[in-house]
Amino acid sequence: MQSPVTPLKDDFSLDLPTFERLLDFHVRTGATAISWPHHKGESLNLTIAERKLFAEAAVRVVNGRIPVTIHVSALAVEDTMELARHAQQIGADGILAITPYFWTPTVEAIHAYFVRLCTSIELPVLSYNSPSYLAGVEITGDLMARLIERLPNFVGVKEASFNSEKFLEISRAALAMRPDFAMLTGVEYLLPSVPLGGIGSYSAAGSICPNLCSQLFDACIAGDWPRARDLQYKISWLWLLFRDQYPSSLKGGMVMMGRPVGPTRAPLPTATKERQAYVHAELERLGILDTEPHGW
């Protein structure tokens, strides 16, 4: 599944025509679903009005060809509630929400948060677990089981611990209760998760190398582990390339692929010409430039 970046004009305002082009690119190049705006889409650097505007654009442009989910996590939980209601009004297929930012909430507070969010709308809700970015705040297996028990529209998790034990504690609790619960990884860590019941991932590099993403997914689902390993090593190297000050370098790389999407909003830096050249050299070394689409 692809989560588009947020294209910006040189004055850092939203670039709607390029966003529409990017959505269409993802749909044409094999995305199985669209989700916006993840942190990669600079969610927390956008105003709530901007997030609503582009959420509407995403639903309109994708136009039912594949599902669209809206990431509603915001600093203020009241904004999250508002974005969730909005997503339902505009016809999105679901929402995605992380554990609350900043407050390092207790297990009971996280439980109360998801209960309030999920009972406020009828849409399916995907949770988002990212302990390494949120000071250890996480959804444990026990908490996941309680939420599944309580909430019929609590349907999956974007699991971004990238840790064998954390993934497994959630997956074995969740899949025992709800076999179709969606165990998804945050970026393309499909090789270590699919054998444990993972059924997909979001993507960091999909706007650079959509073919590689699809090949990795197919190899994992088919259990072709030697091929999956080669592809996983390659795509994970790209993640290391993009991870630092994400998505600055990713946007720089998109320039190199003929799909410029403008600068990155502060406090994140915009990739310099030198950084773009380094990303270009790495893409060349990995063979990405020859095997992936150039331009829109």
């Binding site: 270590p192 444990l196 390993r229």
Partner: protein, 304 residues
């Protein structure tokens, strides 16, 4: 350079008498149990063997005793982690002289050292011996001190005997980054799962597994290991989930729970040494209840 493919590595506990002395008779019995129940290699005394509660002289004695009892039937890896680099170096030299097949060491205790210090620590331990040196990466056990792929690449450059990483970080980002380059820089370089969570590590390329729970559930450990070794990863999920349930049951109580679970399986190895406390009666009953709920344990051998 001598090679070692450790495969499935059992990491025995260290039995103590009521007077807190090492119970060597029981240790001999335990070693025979591990050899008869699926170990390809033994590693001792790991943290599961309370290495940090054994004075230097006891660590040496324990290793010599184990080597004498094993008599070459299986390779033996000596755990030589220490706070001071010089003390670890001396333990490594002793292990090689006594006949260990390899040494394994983690980051220095207590100092929470920066990367350059960690590199120098490992470089000195590895350079002290000619037998293979394995690095044990266990940030959760080591106050968060981590090893990264770059440090491993530097160690490959410095140490001809740096043979692999025993990983307890469980971190997919680290394991994949490590295995992207290390086997190219050092042919035969091995990733070994540091505990019985091998499906993801095996997918990434782990060739072996350290198994602190092998004294409780040797059959389940062997089944999980063989499925992962044979790359039957979808088939391994059921065994992995049972193994994870056992790990969670034992994890919170640490060594006290590990030893209590061994007693519940009919293989009493006494209680842990201070400062660790034994489980009290109600905690023991709770643990026994949790073990009873794990179906796979019913197929495990009772007693010795």
């Amino acid at each position: 350079m001598p090679q070692l493919q450790p495969g499935l590595v059992h990491t025995p506990v260290t039995p103590f008498t009521r007077e807190r002395a090492i119970d060597l008779d029981r240790y001999a019995q335990l070693i025979e149990f591990h050899i008869a129940n699926g170990a390809d290699t033994l590693a001792l005394p790991m943290h599961a063997g309370e290495s940090v509660s054994l004075p230097d002289s006891e660590r040496r004695l324990l290793l010599e005793f184990a080597l004498e009892r094993v008599k070459g039937r299986k390779p033996l890896i000596a755990h030589v982690s220490e706070t001071g680099t010089g003390i670890a170096v001396a333990l490594a030299r002793h292990a090689e002289a006594a006949g260990a097949a390899a040494v394994v060491a983690t980051t220095p205790y207590y100092w929470t050292p920066p990367p350059a210090m960690v590199l120098e620590h490992f470089a000195q331990i590895g350079a002290a011996v000619k037998i293979p040196f394995f690095l044990y990466n266990a940030p959760e056990e080591m106050q968060g001190t981590k090893v990264n792929a770059e440090l491993c690449h530097k160690l490959i450059d410095k140490l001809p005997n740096f043979a692999g990483v025993v990983d307890l970080s469980l971190d997919w980002q680290f394991m994949i980054e490590l295995m992207t380059d290390a086997p190219r820089l050092r042919p035969g370089f091995q990733l070994l799962a540091g505990t019985e969570l091998m499906v993801s590590a095996g997918a990434i390329g782990a060739a072996g597994m350290f198994a602190p729970l092998a004294g409780i559930a040797p059959k389940l450990v062997r089944e999980l290991y063989e499925l992962c070794r044979d790359q039957k990863l979808f088939e391994a999920r059921a065994a992995q989930e049972q193994m994870a349930a056992l790990r969670q049951a034992v994890k919170a109580g640490g060594i006290a729970s590990l030893k209590a679970a061994m007693r519940a399986m009919g293989r009493d190895c006494g209680e842990p040494r201070p400062p660790l406390l034994p489980l009290d009666a109600s905690a023991y009953q709770k643990l026994v209840g949790e073990l009873d709920a794990i179906a796979a344990l019913r197929a495990e051998p009772p007693g010795w």
